[in-house]
């Protein structure tokens, strides 16, 4: 086996995929060829490094996904039930619910994925991408950014609702994850996550919270930049919330308040 042939087989060897015969032939070549041996070693190091980057499972992630799945299921059932005649006997309705769920699944396949709806708006709120003014009843999907310039706006989604304060922008990352700059009040039926652009987040669990992220950075010539405001500030009205920063997390119960220090540490 020459170097060219060996080099073609080295990735499979480094990944542990070679069959016994090929592996024997390549290994014989590597024993005699320092350059190919160095290549094999480098590939094995790269693969080991990649395997070391594997992210582990997380109960928080699983709970968040479960909330979104049950929210989606409830939405399907709600849509199906709203279509049934109200005079049907209860036992027929009960027996038909499973069928309706299957029908609703098929019907929903035809619908675009609008995770959020504008419940009410007063003043001026815009969809940032096209600067269009939002009206009650408008629907929004993942990735949409909304900016409330003045007045108030309420958006309702699968897992809860958010009420925006003036001069607040949100990016609706998904059904249950929002990126915030400004202040909002969040009510959730399942877990709703509000995060800032640094990755700090508050997970609102079946309750209501007021959350703010208003950190600003001021750079002024030769002076060092100054950080003001809070990375995150949360007040739990009812239920529970978990605030996570880059240096720790804090579980908050009804009535409690907290914020994140500039270095990402939760402060009581």
């Amino acid at each position: 086996m020459n170097c060219e042939e060996a080099r073609k087989e080295i990735p499979a060897l480094a990944l542990g995929e070679s069959d016994v015969e090929v592996s024997r032939d390549v290994s014989a070549h590597l024993a005699a060829c320092p350059a190919c041996r160095a290549e094999r070693d480098a590939q094995e190091r790269a693969i080991a490094a990649m395997r070391g980057m594997v992210v582990e499972t997380s109960e928080r992630r699983r709970e968040s996904v479960l909330g979104a799945m049950t929210g989606a299921r409830d939405e399907l059932v709600e849509r199906a039930i709203m279509r049934r005649p109200s005079v049907w006997p209860l036992r027929v309705v009960g027996a038909a619910a499973a069928v309706l769920l299957a029908v609703a699944i098929g019907w929903t396949l035809l619908q675009p994925d609008h995770s959020w709806r504008v419940v009410s708006v007063s003043g001026k709120a815009i969809r940032v991408e096209d600067q269009s003014v939002l009206r009650t009843g408008d629907v929004l999907g993942p990735g949409d950014e909304v900016s409330l310039l003045e007045g108030s706006a309420v958006l309702e989604g699968t897992v809860g609702r958010i009420e925006l304060s003036p001069h607040t922008s949100v990016v609706l990352r998904s059904r249950s994850r929002i990126q915030l700059r400004g202040t909002l009040r969040a009510e959730s039926r399942h877990e709703l996550t509000v995060m800032n652009h640094l990755g700090d987040r508050v997970a609102v669990r079946g309750g209501a919270c007021t959350i703010a992220s208003d950190m600003t950075v001021v750079a002024s010539g030769t002076e060092p930049p100054k950080v003001s405001g809070d990375r995150l500030r949360v007040h739990v009205e009812r239920g529970q919330a978990v605030m996570r920063g880059s240096r720790g997390e804090l579980l908050l119960e009804s009535g409690q308040k907290s914020r994140l220090d500039p270095d990402g540490t939760p402060a009581n």
Partner: protein, 199 residues
């Protein structure tokens, strides 16, 4: 499809929370690792991971019993990744991400500034820097190679499963993975040489 998978799907179709929990637990590790390495952004990866399972709930009616559960869900996730990557190319960056401007109109990046004003994280190991370089190198791979690598090395799927998800022959996906490993090794070697020259 295995009987246990068929039973799990039936229970999911009935809306059982326990079945949802079991489904997520089965696939969490390989799926989040595939998505994360494919899109490169941890927040986006978490969003897509969640959306994939929501799509499962919404599209259970379209699941074909002859396909495996993992192949089906990974295909949903892959398509979501592709949609997001295409959308990211089309749309401008959202305005509340990362940047602001000072009184003179000079644009400053929050993350860069915070690194300069805040204490550095303790115990930043050399391996973290290597992993960062590796992630950058992975991001520079072509999408087909990156996808195949993520499915094979990070999600641990077989080449037969990857071939179904990527809708390509087994030989092709194997070639993509091997090429990706060679390319990453070259990039890492080039980066190490540059680092040694700086020292």
């Amino acid at each position: 499809m295995l009987d246990s998978e068929a039973d799990l799907i039936r229970r999911c179709a009935r809306g059982e929370e326990g079945a949802y929990r079991e489904l997520v637990a089965r696939l969490e590790r390989p799926l989040i690792n595939f998505i994360l390495r494919y899109v490169g952004d941890p927040h986006l990866a978490e969003d897509i991971f969640q959306e994939a399972f929501v799509r499962v709930v919404r599209t259970l009616g379209s699941f074909r019993p002859e396909a495996s559960l993992a192949t089906w869900i990974f295909t949903i996730a892959r398509n979501l990744c592709l949609d997001h990557l295409k959308a990211k190319k089309r749309h401008r960056e959202v305005s509340i991400d990362a940047q602001t401007s000072d009184a003179r109109g000079q644009v400053i990046d929050y993350r860069e500034v915070l690194r300069s004003v805040l204490p550095a994280p303790e115990g930043r190991a050399a391996s973290t820097e290597d992993q960062r370089r590796l992630q950058e190198a992975i991001a520079e791979l072509g999408p087909a190679k990156r996808e195949a690598l993520a499915l094979r090395v990070f999600a641990g799927l077989s080449y037969e499963e990857i071939a179904k998800i990527a809708d390509a022959p087994v030989g092709t996906v194997k070639f993509r993975v091997h090429e990706a490993v060679q390319e990453l090794t070259r990039r890492m070697a080039g980066g190490a040489a540059a680092k040694a020259a700086e020292a």
